[in-house]
């Protein structure tokens, strides 16, 4: 076995669209349409893409918070999708998730200490006086004062709430954390605090991250590997430094060009992608990006490209870079 903690193969999720009097499935949203990736132990893979690209659904599928239509997910050699209840429960202790809006994901009627204590008791990680001690330890780990244990979620600022969300994920001592847009709702100065915290925790606890974000600057800062998603598929994946230094797929290039740079001297006539992201109910034929692609070729509407190696672990699904064997 390799050093990969998580291996995902050909993951697919089609949501039925119901209509008519009898609510029959009249179409399906191809939210995730054949996604494969693996994450080495201790690494951070970022799934990056715009709304509707399927990045959040992919995260949910990995944890089986949403049941996939097909595909394989293997966590440390265990088949997640075929795991029975007991195995899944044990797996979920090792795999945790942090959400974008910590306020919506915290119980407003429970103190932070009560909430963390409940997790510890349910999972039999601590009992009696040890609970309070472990709660204090968790709060300290995420940079919150011990007094935070007696307070309710609404008494915290956005950044502090996200720290609580992180403490909750860490309570069960996981190895793997899915962070779904964890800093998108935060101001830049607070965003930096949380990004630093996530990096520190990774170093101290040896965590592996699947980081989901639309923000390329954040992704660049936190990731070791990046996968760019468009309409339910990964169109390019590479080690982070490679991807940002030499993007290959026209969509990745457009995404990088579109992000505003905080430097007035860099103001330029840049590549502005025309049109909207098409609907995942009826995605374009062939390469899903071809209607917006500046480098479109005659074969693009007909043939969907698979990810092909363009050198040193850098993969792209694009006709321009396809190997010349067909």
């Amino acid at each position: 076995m390799s050093g990969d903690l998580l291996v995902v193969r050909d993951l697919v999720k089609h949501f039925p669209v119901r209509g008519g009097v009898f609510g029959r499935a009249v179409a399906s949203v191809r939210a995730v349409d054949g996604v494969s990736f693996s994450i080495p132990r201790g690494a951070t893979l970022s799934l990056v893409g715009e709304s509707g690209s399927g990045k959040t659904t992919t995260g949910r599928l990995v944890l089986r918070l949403v049941e996939p239509t097909s595909g394989e997910v293997s966590f440390d050699g265990t088949d997640v999708l075929r795991a029975d209840r007991g195995t899944l429960r044990a797996l979920r202790k090792r795999m945790q998730i942090i959400f974008q809006d910590p306020y919506a994901s915290l119980n407003p009627r429970m103190t932070v200490g009560g909430m963390l204590g409940e997790i510890l008791r349910v999972h039999r990680l601590a009992r009696g006086a040890a609970v309070a001690a472990r709660v204090a330890e968790l709060l300290d780990l995420v940079g919150l004062p011990g007094a935070a244990a007696d307070r309710y979620p609404h008494e915290f600022s956005g950044g502090q709430r996200q720290r609580v969300g992180i403490a909750r994920a860490l309570a069960v001592e996981p190895e793997f954390i899915i962070a779904d847009e964890p800093v998108s709702a935060l101001d830049v100065s607070i965003q930096a605090q949380i990004l630093n915290l996530l990096k520190d925790l990774q170093e101290r606890l040896g965590l592996t991250y699947l980081f989901i974000s639309h923000d390329l600057a954040v992704v660049r800062h936190i990731s070791t590997h990046v996968a760019v998603m468009y309409l339910g598929r990964i169109v390019e994946t590479a080690p982070a430094a490679d991807l940002f230094a030499a993007p290959v797929h026209p969509y990745t290039k457009a995404l990088l060009a579109a992000a505003p740079v905080p430097d007035p001297a860099a103001r330029r006539d840049r590549l502005v992608l025309a049109g909207d992201v098409p609907s995942p109910i009826n995605p374009p034929s062939g390469c899903p990006f071809h209607p917006r692609c500046p480098d479109v070729r005659p074969e693009c509407p007909r043939t969907a490209q698979r990810l092909a190696d363009t050198g040193s672990g850098h993969f792209a699904a694009c006709a321009v870079h396809a190997p010349e064997r067909h």
Partner: protein, 346 residues
């Protein structure tokens, strides 16, 4: 080509003087905007930038007198447009200013449109109201307004309801609506924050195009320094209800003078890609009900002097058209006894 905005105060389209807006809440009086003054020159884009709760949106809403009252109240200051003092106008006249002279677009186009009317009809009704055209002429104008913001098949799209359009398309409709009566000032409150990055690029380039064609002034409210760098001529940085720094855009990014601005830049991942750790400004923004004494940034500032906790910093000129409200830029502060710097840090 961007127009230089050196003479900001001479022919200003909009002047705000000492604006103070408060909200009466259970937790006490929240001073959301506290003595904000600026001039917006004709044709200029001024970005009002800051983090959530700094008062930038309340400033914008106060200019148009859209503050819900109660609990909100504009307690002091003046807004001058075309020599007229807007805060004293009767509501009927104010209604004529909104849309006609000063228009506004919002972050959430979906919640700012009426869901049960066709988008064309919503634009047409504004045109009829403000320009007195008949139904047919107003509809033709509405379609033309949609064409101006590059909506493909504008005549057909005018028949759509808001839910039939994507977020980017709706924001174009909002811009068409705001521009329908040829305003001299456009207030854009986080116009691209809810949009994907490729759509954001389209809307920003549309705003630049529209400004170039019409010569209107834009007050851009944003938290995104990337958007500021790409669109603004001048920038005012807000913190805790006050403008702490103001400068032409190139000058601000090259020589940020206020510690808050500097630390904000240092915390941006995009500018510090190689850094293992980002600079995080310690603590968090104080609540508007309980600002600290002296400089409101001093408890979080890494360069605070003893005087900062005691007295409000005066506004100092630090360069051409560049001002900062900070004791570090006041020579007399240096004459004070040396700071007990080790006390706060670590």
């Amino acid at each position: 080509m961007t127009q230089p905005s050196t003479n900001a105060s001479s022919d200003s389209a909009l002047s705000v003087r000492g604006l103070r807006t408060v909200f009466h809440t259970d937790a006490g009086t929240a001073v959301a905007v506290d003595g904000v003054s600026f001039d917006l020159a004709a044709g200029e884009t001024l970005a009002l930038v800051g983090e959530s709760g700094c008062g930038k949106s309340v400033t914008a809403l106060s200019i148009l007198r859209l503050i819900p009252s109660p609990p909100g109240e504009i307690t002091d200051g003046e807004v001058l447009f075309d020599g007229r003092a807007l805060l004293g106008l009767p509501e009927r006249e104010m209604r004529r200013v909104r849309g006609n002279d000063i228009s506004m677009i919002f972050q959430e186009p979906m919640t700012s449109m009426n869901p049960v009317f066709r988008v064309g009809a919503q634009i047409a009704s504004v045109i009829r109201l403000h320009r007195g055209l008949d139904r047919a002429a107003a509809w033709t104008e509405a379609v033309r307004a949609l064409e101006r913001v590059n909506i493909p098949e504008a005549a057909r799209r005018a028949q759509d309801y808001p839910h039939q359009l994507s977020g980017g398309m709706l924001q174009r409709v909002m811009i068409a609506l705001a521009l329908a009566c040829g305003p001299r000032v456009l207030i854009a409150d986080e116009p691209t924050t809810a949009l994907d990055v490729t759509i954001q690029a389209q809307i920003l380039s549309l705003l630049r195009e529209v400004r170039r064609d019409t010569g209107m002034a834009v007050l851009l409210i944003t938290h995104d320094l990337g958007v500021v760098a790409e669109t603004a001529d001048a920038v005012a940085v807000m913190y805790a209800g006050r403008i702490v720094e103001r400068a032409p855009v190139a000058e601000l990014f090259a020589n940020p003078a206020h510690p808050y601005t500097r630390e904000l830049f240092q915390s941006l991942p995009v500018l510090n890609a190689g850094a293992a750790r980002l600079h995080a400004i310690r603590g968090s923004v104080p609540p508007a009900t309980a600002y600290p004494a002296g400089c409101r940034f001093h408890p979080r500032c890494s360069r605070a002097l003893p005087v900062c906790a005691l007295r409000e910093p005066p506004v100092a000129e630090v360069g051409p058209g560049h001002t900062a409200a900070c004791w570090l830029h006041c020579p007399e502060a240096a004459a004070e006894p040396p700071a007990a710097e080790g006390g706060k840090g670590a």
